[in-house]
């Protein structure tokens, strides 16, 4: 996985957009990223599908509290203005990645990373996207 401008290029070549705050600031070194991403464009799903709405609810309800201080940032991965290509949770400790609700959509892989920045987790309860920005980024 590597950053190219405002996008990430995943292993396998899929180019996706993140919550911009997660990759634009000062990176935190020595993190672990749980990458739960589609491997091919044909696998992606619309953000508006019920399972993609529900996994965002679960992130707000218990995934973020479960990670506690370990969480550094969390972002979904947008293929375009409509489609969800996965999610990445960046944390100091990968031991809870087995619980990641996003792995129910696309299986997760834990990788060491120095790419991501510290971003306050979403306040909730909003799960909709702001003008097509990858949740939880953006604002009006």
């Amino acid at each position: 996985m590597k950053r190219e401008g405002s996008t990430l290029v995943l292993k396998g070549g899929l180019r996706v957009r993140t919550d911009p705050r997660c990759i634009r600031g000062e990176p935190v070194f020595g993190l672990w990223a749980h990458v739960c991403a589609a491997t091919d464009r044909s696998d992606v799903l619309p953000y508006d599908h019920p399972e993609i709405q529900q996994v965002r609810r679960e992130a707000l309800a218990w995934w973020i509290p479960l990670l506690g201080d370990s969480l550094v940032c969390l972002t979904t991965l947008a293929l375009d203005s409509v489609n969800y290509a996965g999610a990445i949770t960046a944390a100091r400790d990968p031991s809870l990645f087995g619980e990641d609700p996003f792995a129910r959509i696309f299986p997760g892989t834990a990788i060491p990373t120095d790419l991501f920045c510290a971003v306050p987790p979403p306040a909730g309860p909003v799960v909709e996207r702001y003008s097509g920005v990858a949740w939880p980024g953006g604002r009006f």
């Binding site: 609810r57 707000l60 309800a61 218990w62 973020i64 509290p65 506690g68 201080d69 306050p120 987790p121 306040a123 909730g124 309860p125 909003v126 799960v127 909709e128 702001y130 604002r139 009006f140």
Partner: protein, 166 residues
């Protein structure tokens, strides 16, 4: 500021949330309307009932670009457990140190054991100007779900440039 005033800008509270992270109210708003509730705490049956009502409206907030925040004197770990039990997906802020009780004029004088907040609700513009204030000491003084909807509609109408059909 006191609970009854409805013409001011609300204090930009900075408190730990239910996970222990410090949050500023302005950062939470982030361009959206806010429904802000002060709650006695998990032990109070009136609060339990009221918060179940807020949980029932969170499905509307989640698609309406609006924030819902509860402040109480419970410590973050107690709030986290209470929040999970309720099934809430909105933010709780903990003022366990009673930092803002007197500054906001919201000290509950009839409970000298817990020293909690007097129940109150405020609906806020994104810049924290107060749209409406509710004194919830008496349960019927709290905003109904319909009043919350109407306040969120009025604020959204004022701040969303493309609100009008034409």
């Amino acid at each position: 500021m006191t609970a009854g005033t409805a013409t001011e800008t609300f204090l930009d509270l900075e408190l730990p949330d239910h996970t222990g992270r410090t949050r500023a109210l302005s950062e939470i708003a982030n361009g959206d309307p806010v429904a802000l509730f002060f709650s006695r705490g998990w032990w109070c049956p009136k609060e339990q009932r009221h918060l179940r009502g807020l949980v029932s409206i969170q499905d509307e907030f989640e698609v309406a670009y609006s924030k819902l925040v509860v402040v109480s004197v419970d410590p973050p770990e107690v709030q986290a457990a209470f929040r999970a039990g309720l099934g809430a997906r909105f933010l709780f802020l903990s003022d366990a140190e009673r930092l803002y009780l007197d500054e906001l004029g919201l000290r509950e004088t009839t409970d000298t054991v817990h020293n909690p907040y007097r129940p109150a609700a405020f609906t806020l513009y994104p810049d924290l100007r107060i749209h409406a204030a509710y004194n919830g000491y008496w349960f019927w003084g709290r905003p109904t779900l319909e009043e919350i909807r109407q306040d969120m509609r009025a604020i959204s109408m004022a701040i969303r440039d493309d609100w009008e059909l034409g």
